[in-house]
Structures are given as C-alpha cells and as structure tokens.
Amino acid sequence: MKSHISTTINGDSVEFLCEPSQTLLQVLRNDLGMTGTKEGCGSGDCGACSVIFDGELVCACLVLGVEAQGAAIETVEGVAAHDQLHVIQEKFLEHAALQCGICTPGLIVSTKALLEENPSPTEAEARYFLAGNLCRCTGYDKIIKAVMDAAATMRQGA
Amino acid sequence: MARVYFNASLEKHAGCVSVAVAAQNYRALLEELTQKLPQLTQEVLMPLALVIDGEIVQEPFLADFSAEAELHFIEKIAAG
C-alpha cells in the first residue's frame, strides 16, 4: 500500500506516493527526479545523500519517505538562490575542492549545516563535523580550505 | 644501423640480447626481425609497444626511426 505524503522541499510544497519501504533518497532521486542528492552507499556511511531535515543534517538513505510527512527538507538544489551561488559553493569552486564532484552535493549541504551551527569552526572542528562525508578524490585538503574560507567570508558578510 | 635490445623475456625467443637492423620503420623492423630470428614471431612482437630512443610508442605501426636508433620492445602500459 502506498502512502500519500505532503512535504516541503526547498520551500516548495510537494506531494508524492510512496511504499513503506522506500527511503527518502529513493523518493527524491527516482520519484521526484531530484538527482542532485547522490547515493554512494545506501547505508549511512558516505554522506553523499546529505540533506537538511527539519533543520537537522541527515543521510537521506536512512530516512523513510513516509517520514517526510509535514517536514521541511533542504537539498543541494535549494542551496543556490536561482543562479546566484551560495558562498560555500563559490569557495568550493575557487579552491578546486572537487575533482569528480560526486561527493560535492553532500559536502555542500553538510558544510551549510556546519556553518549554521558553528560559524567559526576550527580546522579540527570542520574535519570532525565533515567526517561523515567521504571524498575519495581530493584527500580533503582543498575541501577544508574551502570550508574555512567560506566560514571567514560568511562571518564578514554577516 | 639501428639496434634492437631484448629484455630477459624476449631474449628467450630471440636467442640474443641485441641485434642490428637495417630497418628504419616499424613494419620493416617486424619483417626483418621475424626473418633473422624465426622464434621471434609477429604474435610475440605485435602486442608490444616499441621504445625508440627512450620514447615509448604504444601504437608503433607507422613509427619510423633513424639508423642510429636504440630500440626496445616492452609490454604496453595499462591505464589506471
């Protein structure tokens, strides 16, 4: 039996039907066509599917679609305002913090969550906060530099 | 004359460590080698890359070289 779910994604109200066993990640990617959120493992180990769910950073592969009822969800597609990139996105590009880019949507969302929670992280705090986001290409060096730079820029702008 | 040097694996087929050749391009080289050293068949040589004076040529079919060239056959390098 499919359930009818009403939810909010990136500010838009969205409705969908979903099986009880479907994850939020599957709903986003396969049913809603929102493929910006990536799947690297499906078991909560890689962070490629990071989304913000009612203000909290979660792995969309560990949330059921039905749990989205009444929730407010932010995905990578909602980070930039129209064509204006978010500072975090700009800094990722400036610092060449992506190579293949498959981890990038998850990292952008996680970084946003980090900086909302802690606008002045130390490098160690950033590294520990982002430890749930695997990147196999970069060795994290440029990602951390981009995050620290984004934090500094956002503090100045605030 | 150009000179072909064989590594230990090819030496078994060639029966020698090096040989002088009159050839100045890959196709002539294959012909000359397989004639001079019948154990060294086209089947052995064709899958290999040719090294001309230290430069690895993965697809040597059209390669030519000087009369003073130093030539080696090596296994093609795989991609990673």
Binding site: C46, A48, C100, I102, C135, G139, D141 | A78
Partner: protein
C-alpha cells in the same frame, strides 16, 4: 619546446567550466538518467567463492508476470575462444564474458550468475529468488601461497603458465611469469658491503570511488542502441559491448555521464552488456545500479601482492645490486598488473645489476582492475622499504642515499630504454629543502620518506574546436573528465587562440560526435588530449590567418597571429579573432579546427613523499601528523588540480598503508563489503597534505606537460610504512599497518 615561455592562461587557477553544475547538483552522473517506460535490472550473485554450477533453472522466473527479461551467459552470442586475446589487453574476451555472467563455474563471492529485469528495482531484486541454482561447492583459493602450492585446487583447467624456461605441461594457477634483468646480479651482490633481504606483502584494496557502477540503456533494432554510463573510456565500453554481443561499433552509441571517481576501476564493463541484453529482450529502456556491497564484492579491486626484495650497497652508499621476486593476485581471471610492477620496481635507481622475476596468480577473488599506476604501488612499496632500511644500516640520510643512486637522464632501465630528462633529483632536492623535512622530528613521531615512478602514456585522442560567428567556441573532446580536465583543455586552447578560457566551452562528446579516444587513464588526458586540443587550436590559427589575409587581399604568409589578434605584416591592419569569425561568412564559411592524434612521448613522473606518524602505544592506532607530497608535473596547466592529484593520490596511498584491506572468511566470503568496515580515510583522519609542484618540462609536449594522475599513490605506502616502523622501533613488512597488527608488534617487543 621554447625556453622559459611566458603563458597567459596556463598556470592560472581558473574556475572549472563544469563547476557550476557540480556544486548545484545539476550535473548528471551514472545513476541520474531515467527514461520513459524504463524498467530495472538486478543481478543474482554467487554466495560461494568457488563452485561448479550444477544447474541454473530460470523457468520459475520466466513464468512470473513480474519478470520482463532474464539474462545468463548463454546470451553472449559469439564469445569464442579465438577472440581470447584481443591484442591490446591481456584479458581475453572470453574471460570478460565469464566475469560478467558466470559460465558453469563461479569463481568468487559475488560473481554474477544471472540477471532479471522488472518494473521496479525492488521487484527485480525480489524476483531473483525465482532463479534456482544448484552449486557444487569447491575449496576456495584465497591467497598466493595457497594458489601456488602443489595441492591447490585449479581455477581454470586449461590455464598453463606462460613464460617459463621450459614450456609448462600442467594446468596451474600461475598464468604467467616474467623475467627482467640487467648486468650481473651475482657480481653485484658480491661487491656489496651490506645487504638487506626481506619479504613484504600488501592486501587486496579497492579504488573506493564514491559513485557505484550504474547504467541506463536502450536497445534499438533500427539504429544505434544507447548506453549511458560513468566510465573512464566510453569508446572502450562500446568496443567491449560490441564484441560481447556481436554488434558493429556503429550499432552502439555510448554516452559518458559525469563520472564519480574511477582511479582505473571504471576502465572495463560489468553492467552495460547485461543491461543491453535485458533491454533487447524486454523492448524497454533498462537501468541497473550496483549496491556498494556489489562494488566491493564484484567490481575489480587492486591486486594483493607478495614481494621478496634484496638490495646490496657499498659503505659509501653506492647500491650495487637489487633483486625482486614479485607475486600478484589477478583475482578470478588472469591479468594482474604484474608486468608494470616488474618494470617500475627499481626504476628510481641507477644501478648496474638488477634482476626481477614476476608471477601472475589467479585466486578466488574478484578479477582485479587497474588502480592508479597499476602494479607499481605494491612493488615499489617493497623496494622503498628495503632501500630505507639499507640507508639506515649504512648510516646515511634517506635523501642523500637516494641522490647518490638516483635515476637520471641516460639511466638504463631494467625494461629496456634509457630515461630521458626526468625530475627525480629535482624532487629529492625539493624534499630536502622542504619546510617539512627541515623541521625536526617531533617527539614520539616516526618519519618516513619514499620515492615513486610511473611511466605515463600518450595514445589516441581526437578533438574538434568549432568557432561561432561571435568568436566564442566549443571544444569537443572525448576524454571523460574525472578531475577537472575540461578546465585544462579550455586553458590550453585559450592560450593558443589568445582568447579568454571562458569563451570556449569544452564538451565531452559521446561516441557518435567525436572520433575515437583512448580511455582516461595512464595519466594521459592532459598530456595527449591536451596535445590534440593544441593541434586543433593551431589548425584554427592557420585558418584565421588565411581568412584575415583574404580580408586584406594579401597572402597568409603576410599575416601574423598573436594574442588573439591577426596583424597584417605589410600594413597597419589588425583583426581580432572575433572579427575574423564575424566575417567568416564572406571568407569561406565557418571556422573549425580538428586533430586526430596518437600522442607519443609521454614523460615519466617521479614523486617523493614525506610522512610523520604518531602511534598510540596502548591501542596501536596511528595518526598521520604531517604529510608532504612532492612531484614532477613537467608543467602544471592548472596548479590547483595538479595539487589535487598529488593530494588525492597521497591519501589513497595512506589508506592502503594504514587501514584498507579486503577481509575474507576461510570460505572466501568477503566480510567487510561496505564503507563502515572497509575504512577509507576520513577528513578527521588527516592533516593538511602539503603539495609541492616540481616542473622539469617534458620536451615532447608543447607546454612541457607530464601526466600527474598516478605517481602520487606510489610513495605513500613506504613513506607511511617507514614512519610507522620508526615510531614503533620495529620493522614493518605487511600492510595495512592496522591497529591490531601494530599492537601485536608492540606486544611482541615488550
């Protein structure tokens, strides 16, 4: 190559053209394409590591209304033994087919047995239960020692060892032996004052790309079938699928999606031919995805290895002889990178007497695939560990010891040719004066250093550059962009055409829109495809001159083109590139340049890494506290992405050295097929990775480029291994240096 050239764009840190899409989630990767009417495929995999398939019965599945198509090995129409060796790969087509869908025998845990397509992914997975398989379970062969023992179960009844002194007469798990030598090894050791001889081993590891294999395909009887997939080489996917399914190349179009990492692991096919069979049978588009567990269990990891190394030197530090015996696991089918392992093992050294023997060994594990500098990390790890130990015995600094014996221009390699100009000495000097090496070693910290060598390759690339009437343009290339290469292409073309890089849009075209390109791998893309871009741009420059000449009514020889502007040498007139394009209509139609090349002269890249490690003596846990990667790039086109290659390679090597390994039960079941238990490095595991770019130009490339993608994974294994050995005061002979192993060494020493 002109001396000390001034560049306008090359060497800058521009924003990559595909960046916007990749930070906003718009870029489409392997699993991101869905089509109307699409159904899903799923694969039934072997629960055993080694078994005969006594019975494979799909009748219950066939009868189910949920099942729209089924595929088994029988569906490969004409895989015949004659195609066993396709010339370019050691791996024959028969092996490829049997790896994709098992033929009467399963050879590893997770080996694909059959596939089903159904209306949803869940339905396809559920329907796998309807396939009945009866196995006769055989004893698995799980490591090199077992595989080469006289009593070992034989994986392939027809496989005999190639390359023995006397032709083999019996089937064996050793597929090939290779021997390389130089000088007189006995005499070399006789001349040595000190000799180190040790055995080393490394585990099976995975490339660990974050994006699992996935594909969406549409079979089409009346035109080309379409395959969408993340691959390092879509032309190679096309060739393999065509061979497996007996199709012409023109009957298949492969579209390379964006690719979420590959590192060599996405240079072959697993799902694509199966999906196409399912699509043909069902008449529907078919999508297939591997789970992370499938990726670990059934895609190609890198070889486990065993190495025995013997190195001798005089007390003054001259190495007199080096000898290696190397065994590589190929997995279920022959074809480990044993060859390049043998060729690279001692190449950082200019030594008179060398002897190397290598063996390719099959075991009941997944068939290995390339992984960054395939074969080199394993063998060079062993060699570098032994070299460090020898330097210590003689009482020499490891950099000085290497400088005394370093390979340089003219060094005779063991695989044949003499080296051209290379940057090893420059890297060693840069290491010596680096902030890291000149800093004292902190208390309780071990420091290790190691060098690495990789050949790099050139090969075939095809590029078209089209200019628009307003002077903007498109670069059509065929090398999947796995780490920012579009940016480099843009910069190289812009440099030649004298325009802003952002005015040229680089596109990775499908197999129908650009001529053949070799796979992105072997560190070849910036070098070879870059060379094609330069040639295509130069082709355009010639046309621009001719067009300007036509406007001025002079000959092309009277026109100079510089910094994007044509100059009439017999007058004052000037025309910008955009102006020439605007009048192209009048001077003979639109302008495009083209290059189809087979690039020669790839320049080897050497690297030197320095690693500081702290070990917790209570738990055996290791912490990398400082790390520096130094490498010769020849010329860095985009320094940020060059540093990124060094850093990424270094961290993969650190993972290999410290934590990563496949863990098998005694029955051959992989027990850690997920990122939780197969632990790749996290952001919190690492310090900054300092990257130092050395530039010793490659004279064969117009800008001096050497490939940089691969060498960086080689030195970390021994740099880390040596640092751990220094920290615990015990020799290290086995990777990974995981906490339990280190703790055991510490306990034994107490």
């Amino acid at each position: 190559m002109s001396e000390a050239r001034e560049f306008k764009h090359i060497g800058q840190r521009t924003i990559r053209p595909d960046g916007f899409d990749k930070v906003t989630g718009k870029a489409n990767y392997g699993a991101d394409l869905s089509l109307p009417g699409m159904i899903w495929g799923a694969i039934l995999r072997s629960p055993h590591a080694h078994a005969n398939i006594k019975k494979l019965d799909v009748s219950r599945a066939e009868a189910s209304p949920d099942v729209l198509a089924i595929a088994t090995f029988e569906d490969f129409p004409s895989v015949n033994a004659a195609a066993q060796r396709d010339g370019t790969h050691r791996e024959g087509m028969m092996d490829t087919a049997c790896n994709i869908l098992a033929n009467q025998k399963v050879l590893y845990h997770g080996h694909a047995v059959a596939a089903i397509a159904a209306r949803s992914q869940a339905a396809a997975i559920a329907a796998l239960d309807l396939i009945d398989v009866e196995y006769e379970v055989l004893t698995p062969v799980l490591n090199i020692d077992d595989a080469i023992s006289a009593t070992a179960p034989i994986l392939h009844e027809t496989m005999m060892t190639q390359g023995l002194a006397e032709p083999a007469t019996e089937a064996s798990n050793v597929s090939a032996r290779m021997e390389l030598k130089k000088g007189d090894i006995e005499a070399g050791f006789a001349a040595a004052d000190v000799i180190v001889e040790r055995a080393y081993d490394t585990p099976t590891v995975h490339q660990g790309y974050i994006e699992p294999h996935a594909t969406t395909v549409v079979f089409n009887d009346n035109g080309p079938s379409m395959i969408w997939c993340p691959t390092q080489g879509h032309f190679d996917v096309r060739a393999r699928v065509a061979q497996l399914l007996n199709l012409e190349l023109g009957q298949i179009k492969v579209v390379a999606s964006e690719i979420g990492g590959g590192f060599g692991g996405k240079t072959t096919v697993y799902l694509e031919p199966v999906a196409l069979i399912l699509s043909k049978k069902s008449g529907r588009p078919v999508k297939m995805e591997m789970s992370r567990g499938d990726v670990f269990r059934a895609s190609g990891p890198a070889s486990a290895s065993q190495s025995r190394i013997k190195v001798g030197a005089k007390m003054d530090g001259t190495i007199t002889a080096m000898q290696a015996t190397l065994h590589y696991e190929a997995g279920a089918f022959q074809g480990s990178p044993m060859g390049p392992g043998c060729m690279t093992v001692f190449t950082p050294y200019d030594v008179e007497n060398l002897y190397v023997e290598g063996f390719d060994v099959v075991v009941n594990k997944p068939k290995v695939a390339a992984y960054r500098a395939p074969g080199a990390p394993q063998s060079e790890f062993a060699a570098e560990m032994a070299v460090n130990e020898l330097a210590k015995k003689i009482g020499m600094d490891p950099i000085e010891f290497r400088l005394k014996n370093a390979a340089k221009e003219g060094t005779q390699t063991i695989y044949g040719p003499k080296l051209k100009v290379v940057g090893l000495e420059a890297c060693l000097e840069a290491a010596k004066s680096s902030p890291h090496y000149t800093a004292p070693i902190p208390e309780n910290v071990g420091r290790g250093l190691a060098a690495g060598f990789w050949f790099n390759i050139g090969g075939q690339s095809s590029v078209i550059i089209n200019l628009n009437p307003d002077g903007t343009g498109t670069i059509i290339e065929g090398s999947p962009d796995i780490g920012g290469s579009r940016a480099s292409m843009q910069m190289m073309a812009a440099e030649i055409l004298g325009v802003a890089p952002s005015s040229l849009n680089p596109i990775v075209a499908d197999t129908e829109h650009v001529a053949y390109n070799q796979t992105t791998g072997g560190s070849r893309t910036t070098f070879a495809t870059g060379m094609a871009v330069v040639e295509a741009a130069e082709d355009i420059v010639e046309q621009l001159k001719a067009r300007a000449a036509a406007m001025w009514n002079v000959t092309a020889e009277q026109v100079d083109f510089k910094d994007g502007v044509a100059q009439n040498l017999s007058g004052e007139d000037q025309l910008t590139l955009a102006e020439i394009c605007a009048s192209a209509e009048k001077t003979g139609g639109q302008i495009s340049g083209r290059a189809n090349i087979n690039a020669r002269g790839a320049g080897p890249s050497f690297a030197v890494h320095i690693c500081d490690i702290k070990v917790d003596k209570e738990t055996g846990k290791t912490d990398v506290v400082r790390y520096t990667a130094i490498q010769d790039a020849g010329k860095a086109i985009h320094p940020s992405y060059v540093e990124g290659q060094f850093q990424g390679g270094a961290v993969q090597g650190i993972g290999w050295a410290l934590n990563e390994e496949y863990v098998y039960s005694k029955d051959g079941i992989m027990e850690n097929a997920g990122f939780l238990d197969y632990r790749i490095p996290l952001a919190s595991d690492l310090p900054e990775i300092e990257a130092i770019i050395v530039e010793v130009p490659n004279s064969f490339h117009p800008f001096g480029v050497r490939g940089v993608g691969e060498t960086g994974i080689i030195p970390p294994l021994a740099a880390v291994g040596t640092a751990v050995a220094e920290a615990i005061g015990q020799p290290i002979s086995s990777l990974p240096c995981s906490p339990p192993k280190i703790l055991k060494l510490l306990m034994a020493a107490r």
